[in-house]
């Protein structure tokens, strides 16, 4: 039996949504983990809780939250 395929949802003007739990290594090499069953990763760079999306893309009217 093969492992379930990793599915990624790129949200227009929004985050990248992926099935969890996940471990994310950021640009500085710091490792972040989440036990959620689904996580949203910031794509706009405006989140105060990167690498996770905190919804701020909407306030900024930015593209790629």
């Amino acid at each position: 039996m093969s492992a379930p395929r990793c599915a990624v949802l790129l949200c227009a003007d929004g985050p990248l949504v992926v099935r969890g739990p996940v471990t994310v290594e950021d640009e500085q090499g710091a490792v972040h983990t989440s036990e959620r069953s689904v996580v949203a990763l910031c794509r706009c760079g405006l989140s105060a809780q990167r690498p996770w999306c905190d919804g701020t893309h909407k306030r900024a009217g930015a593209s790629g939250g």
């Binding site: 227009a12 985050p15 949504v17 069953s37 905190d54 919804g55 701020t56």
Partner: protein, 332 residues
């Protein structure tokens, strides 16, 4: 919880019928004479709230089989008809305005609808100037909802096809703690209240809930219970998720300003991240897959979204008035 104290003629008739386990003795014209005052509105909304509660957890002083008493179901049906008609009307201007700008893309249009300004923000009030006493009053009003969280939306599960069911439950799994009872959101909420010194018992503050808060909760129960309104229930849930993360950020800042206990602040901190995920799943995957199979229900989905936004706007304004936020804030 015990059956709440009545606020007027109708809620008194319902309470008596429930406690004495005898047929309802309500004026058959109850619907036609709702009365113009806020007290009458509170009476009517509380009566309906009590009828809906029979389908949730019921009351410890009322027999469980009251849930299916024909006289009570008949009254509920009458009150629901009025409620639905009123909210079809209330939502019409917002939906008309929205339709004029719609692009046809579901996610774009649904997120745009949720940008609508429907009233003053309680979260902003908490962030900027609520006192601890006002905060506690807001928490007591909010507890009518947070004791249940997504319960009413869960009635959708047996009614949906496989794909939307999976997406709905992906959101719900988080709300209900990812399998850990300690992480169930209603339990996190109760822990936050307790830490803040506010009674966390289920239904503890229904007695002081303003009519608009009861109505907001009644709407969720109505959309959830009636299979006919399934698409509106999904739209309501999605709009709720879309309008949660940013206000939760404001709550966190307000609670930090007030040095509220971490259990309470943590509840809102959790919602910033959780609902940033939920809104994407709810709009793109849940609504997307549901409408993929039922494209003719799009208007109903958007109506449910509009109901969520407008009911929150009205409840928010009423809560701010009730806690004595200054007029400027309420009018903003």
């Amino acid at each position: 919880m015990r059956c709440p104290t009545a606020r007027g003629r109708l809620s008194s008739a319902v309470r008596e019928a429930l406690l004495a386990d005898r047929p309802l003795d309500a004026d058959p014209d109850h619907r036609l004479d709702p009365g113009p005052t806020a007290d009458d509105e509170g009476d009517r909304q509380l009566a309906l709230w009590m009828l809906f509660e029979l389908h949730h957890r019921g009351f410890e002083d009322v027999p469980d089989d009251a849930e299916w008493r024909p006289d009570l179901l008949a009254l509920r049906r009458d009150l629901e008809r009025d409620l639905e008609a009123r909210w079809r009307e209330l939502a019409a201007p917002l939906l008309a305005e929205h339709a004029a700008q719609a692009t046809g893309d579901l996610a774009t249009d649904f997120f745009a609808l949720c940008e609508a300004d429907t009233g003053p923000s309680v979260a902003e009030f908490v962030r900027r100037r609520a006192t601890t006493e006002q905060l506690h009053a807001v928490l007591r009003q909010r507890s009518v909802y947070h004791g249940k969280e997504q319960d009413a939306a869960m009635w959708a599960v047996p009614r949906l096809d496989d794909e939307p069911t999976a997406h709905l439950l992906a959101v719900a799994y988080d709300e209900y703690g990812n399998g850990s009872p300690d992480q169930v959101h209603s339990r996190l909420w109760a822990g936050g209240l307790r830490a803040a010194g506010v009674d966390d018992a289920y239904g503890a503050h229904v007695g002081e809930a303003v009519p608009e808060v009861l109505e907001q909760n009644n709407l969720m129960a109505m959309l959830g219970l009636q299979r006919r309104l399934l698409p509106a229930s999904l739209g309501h849930l999605a709009a709720f998720e879309v309008t949660s993360a940013l206000p939760s950020q404001q709550w966190v800042r307000g609670l930090e300003r007030l040095r509220a206990p971490e259990e309470l602040t943590g509840y809102f901190r959790e919602h910033v991240l959780a609902d940033s995920v939920h809104e994407q799943v709810a709009v793109r995957q849940l609504l997307g897959s549901y409408l993929g199979g039922a494209p003719d229900r799009r208007d109903d989905v958007f109506w449910g979204g509009a109901v969520c936004l407008l009911a929150e706007g009205r409840a928010g304004a009423a809560v701010l008035r009730a806690v004595g936020a200054d007029e400027h804030e309420v009018a903003a």
